[in-house]
């Protein structure tokens, strides 16, 4: 029998990028908040510049919950399971994956909120890809702008604005929607190679600009500036210059005295009372079961676990899983098409051994609807991103452009070229489809005996066409900068498991097609909120985290303003 703990106002499940942000406005408003985190606190001492540990061993210094419940994946309902991954893309700790993410902190562009209506208006309804379940967001960018602004200043984002109050600045992204003010910090510094790529983009008539990062380009809020040491890719920051929630919003929320952080709390299910309201959360620590009652529960555990937790939480009121009486939990799933990179070989050293993946130059000319699609056979596009990121094991595994992958010939090749190749990162518009979804795996279970999440999803024609189109653009860019060889990866098939996973608890006004309402609260269980990219219905062509954080702040603020109706 679980030990029943003292009642609280709000329980947040998962203190990562989303939950760690939401806790702050809640605690500041006077609500008593308990943050249940499966991991522990990690500090600068835990963040050695160690490629093996960061990139190959799934952070052994952390609690291994996520790594024991890695989703299974298959392309479609009739295909065989893909080989199961050994490392979950997320990890457990206070601050969650915001400790080791790349920290690219993009806003979505205006089009991303209005894909359906804008496509119809500009090209006609027939241009919405067949089988897609995409909907417009229930609001436009201007609704989210104040929250983007709030988070950018609260956690600290460096970057170059391109549109302040409608005034365009060609040093920044002129395709971005209007923002209230510039970033709180200037962009991260450049390098010789990034400068070269900037010049090349300009000579093609494109508009390159430095990307935004939740990394300090100068000291911010009494934390250090970035040290550019080269281990930021799945690495924690040894000087707290990466603005994870563990060093920003969470300690600030704790300082109010109203956020209680409970570590090593492995949440198993959410309880529901006879009236269909959630009543609290069951969790396990070291084999001991606890029940934490709460007036409101916010689920903030990453897309796969958000869906799994709801599906595992069955009750009389919700026999198919919590908030799933409309059978929408797990639907409208998609992962960002971040793959299909282009790799280039240059006849000179790039001097890219240091730096970080968020330090780079972007081109948005071929993203979203920033170019005319009238004569094209797809909608959307991709952001082209060139960053300074290289580590030794990864460098040794470089693309050999058709040469042997081992032996003396290989050795001579990598000896000369280990610092001469570059792989672009192209994030592409990805849409939800009827037959791409998450559910519970019928066979594979976690160590507690609960089924893991199963991904059934593949990139469709629209995504593959965007991939081929943006690969063309990327190749032109590399060639313009002097690349002597260019290689393109296949344009994509099965989605598999991803760091950019969306949907499963989509946000929208229609309860027949969406799990949560426009504020992130369940259409079916009114005191259940969901935080994370699981509520997002489109991906845009940019990293999701800042949008997730802006939405989390907005959901928390909505709860504060409507406490009497939601919380009591």
């Amino acid at each position: 029998m679980a030990t029943r703990l003292k009642d609280t106002d709000v329980v947040v499940i998962g203190l990562g990028a989303a939950g760690g942000v939401a806790a702050l406005p809640l605690a500041q408003a006077g609500l008593e908040v308990i943050g249940l985190e499966a991991g522990t606190w990690l500090t600068r001492r835990d963040f050695a510049p160690d490629e093996l540990r960061n990139n190959y061993r799934g952070w052994p210094q952390g609690v291994q919950k996520a790594n024991q419940e890695i989703p299974t994946a298959r392309a479609n309902a009739s295909s065989a399971p893909m080989p199961r991954g050994t490392i979950h893309p997320m990890q457990n700790a206070v601050g969650g994956t915001s400790l080791h993410y790349w920290a690219q902190s993009w806003r979505l562009n205006p089009w991303d909120f209005k894909v359906v209506s804008e496509t119809r208006r500009r090209y006609g309804a027939s241009r919405i890809p067949a089988g897609s379940t995409v909907e417009d967001w229930p609001f436009a960018l201007d609704e989210l702008e104040p929250y983007y602004d709030k988070v950018e200043y609260e956690i600290g984002v460096s970057g170059q604005a391109g549109n302040v109050g409608g005034t365009l600045d060609p040093r920044g992204n002129t395709f971005e929607g209007p923002r209230k003010r510039a970033y709180p910090m200037p962009p991260l510094r450049g390098t010789e190679f990034l400068d070269k790529m900037t010049v090349a983009a300009k000579s093609l008539g494109w508009h390159p600009f430095p990307g935004p990062a939740a990394v300090n380009s100068r000291p911010y809020q009494n934390r250090s500036a970035c040290m550019y040491h080269g281990f930021c890719n799945r690495g924690g920051c040894h000087v707290d210059a990466k603005n994870s929630t563990a060093v920003t919003t969470i300690p600030r929320a704790q300082a109010t005295g109203r956020l209680k952080v409970v570590t090593r709390a492995h949440v198993t299910t959410i309880e529901v009372d006879n009236g269909g309201r959630v009543s609290g959360v069951n969790y396990v620590t070291d084999g001991v079961e606890y029940f934490q009652p709460a007036k409101v529960v916010l689920v903030a555990s990453f897309t796969y676990e958000n869906t799994r937790l709801l599906l595992l939480s069955k009750s009389k009121a919700f026999p198919n899983g919590l908030s799933n009486n409309h059978k929408q939990v797990g639907r409208h799933y998609f992962s960002h098409h971040q793959g299909a990179p282009v790799t280039a070989l240059f006849p000179f050293d790039l001097k890219s051994w240091y730096g970080l993946p968020a330090q780079g130059v972007a081109v948005d000319n071929w993203a979203d609807d920033n170019f005319d699609h009238a004569s094209l056979d797809f909608i959307g596009g991709g952001n082209l991103w060139v960053m300074s990121d290289r580590r030794p094991i990864a460098a040794a595994g470089m693309n050999t452009f058709g040469r042997p992958r081992w032996g003396s010939q290989w050795k001579a090749f990598v000896r000369e070229n280990a610092d001469r190749s570059h792989s672009s990162y192209i994030q592409k518009t990805t849409l939800p489809y009827e037959d791409n979804y998450l559910d519970l795996d019928p066979e594979v279970k976690d160590p507690l005996g609960s089924p893991v999440c199963r991904i059934t999803a593949e990139f469709k024609e629209n995504e593959r066409k965007i991939a081929a189109f943006t690969q063309d653009k990327m190749e032109r860019w590399y060639r313009e900068a002097g690349a002597v060889a260019v290689d393109r990866a296949p344009v994509g098939g099965a989605m598999g498991i991803s760091t950019h996973a969306y949907g499963g608890t989509r946000m929208g006004d229609n309860p027949d097609t969406n799990v949560v309402d426009r504020f992130g609260f369940s259409h079916e269980a009114p005191n259940l909120g969901v935080l994370g990219a699981s509520v997002m219905g489109t991906s845009g062509a940019h990293n999701p985290t800042l949008t997730v954080q802006a939405l989390a702040w907005r959901t928390a603020e909505h709860l504060v303003r409507n406490w009497k109706t939601i919380g009591t």
């Binding site: 600068r44 001492r45 835990d46 963040f47 050695a48 510049p49 160690d50 490629e51 093996l52 540990r53 190959y56 061993r57 799934g58 952070w59 052994p60 210094q61 291994q64 790594n67 050994t86 490392i87 510094r189 390098t191 010789e192 000291p219 809020q221 009494n222 934390r223 250090s224 500036a225 040290m227 550019y228 040491h229 080269g230 040894h238 000087v239 707290d240 060093v247 300690p251 050293d349 001097k351 051994w353 240091y354 730096g355 030794p392 094991i393 460098a395 040794a396 595994g397 992958r405 081992w406 032996g407 003396s408 290989w410 050795k411 001579a412 990598v414 000896r415 280990a418 610092d419």
Partner: protein
């Protein structure tokens, strides 16, 4: 929140820099030919290229693996290879921890590889001339090796672990004498890269830093008992 200034970090880095570059356990047999050789390290080695006690592999598995990695990243005119990096020592240790889930693959894969070599040439892989060894490995890599289910996957695993043992942090028993990092021109683990450092790198004037991450005492040592691929 404590605040670390660049100045403090500089001081710390300087203090670390004054300590010995590496402990004995990082060092492998001295490389006798080619360039990038640091003969002064030879006296620090635990013997004349002798093998330390194995932790997980059997002696015959280790012999076979020694012969395989010597072909994957050979010792040649371009300098030391996986042998000098002690990639097999890395794999042997890791098979008892982070790579434990690969132990069965090594048991069956190495046995199958040797059976295949014998079926082709009538000799153990270790007794073949380099060219014949390469032919065996090429067949294993492509999946064409007979009597060897999943040979391509096993080859990919071996190559990946050989890379880890040659180019990973010396803390884990491979990349001895930093030979892997020197091979690809990696200028080394640092905790800070200033604008000036980056400019020096761009001009080819940045001094290579031979340090393990764990030579910096600001970091908790890795235990590395879980995870891995």
């Amino acid at each position: 929140m404590t605040f670390i200034s660049r100045r403090d970090l500089l001081k710390r880095a300087a203090a670390v820099g004054a300590s010995p570059l590496a402990t004995k356990s990082y060092l492998g047999p001295a490389f006798q030919g080619g360039h990038d050789v640091r003969p002064e390290r030879a006296d620090l080695h635990d013997g004349m290229g002798g093998r330390e006690p194995l932790e997980n592999l059997t002696a015959s598995e280790a012999d076979l693996l020694d012969a395989v990695v010597a072909r994957l990243i050979p010792t040649d005119a371009a300098g030391p290879g996986a042998t000098e990096a002690r990639a097999v020592r890395y794999i042997d240790r890791a098979l008892g921890g982070p790579l434990a889930s690969s132990r069965p693959a090594y048991t069956s894969g190495l046995a199958a590889l040797d059976r295949f070599a014998r079926s082709l040439h009538g000799k153990s892989f270790t007794d073949l001339a380099p060219a014949a060894q390469d032919a065996v490995l090429t067949a294993v890599e492509s999946g064409a090796a007979t009597g060897f289910t999943g040979s391509a996957a096993f080859f990919a695993l071996l190559l990946s672990h050989t890379h880890q043992g040659t180019f990973g942090d010396p803390y884990y028993g491979g990349n001895a004498n930093f030979v892997g990092w020197d091979l690809i021109g990696y200028p080394g683990v640092r905790t800070m890269v200033t604008v000036v450092d980056q400019e020096r790198l761009e001009k080819g004037e940045l001094k290579t830093n031979h340090k393990s991450a764990y030579d910096y005492d600001t970091f908790t040592k890795a235990s590395g008992k879980t995870g891995g691929r």
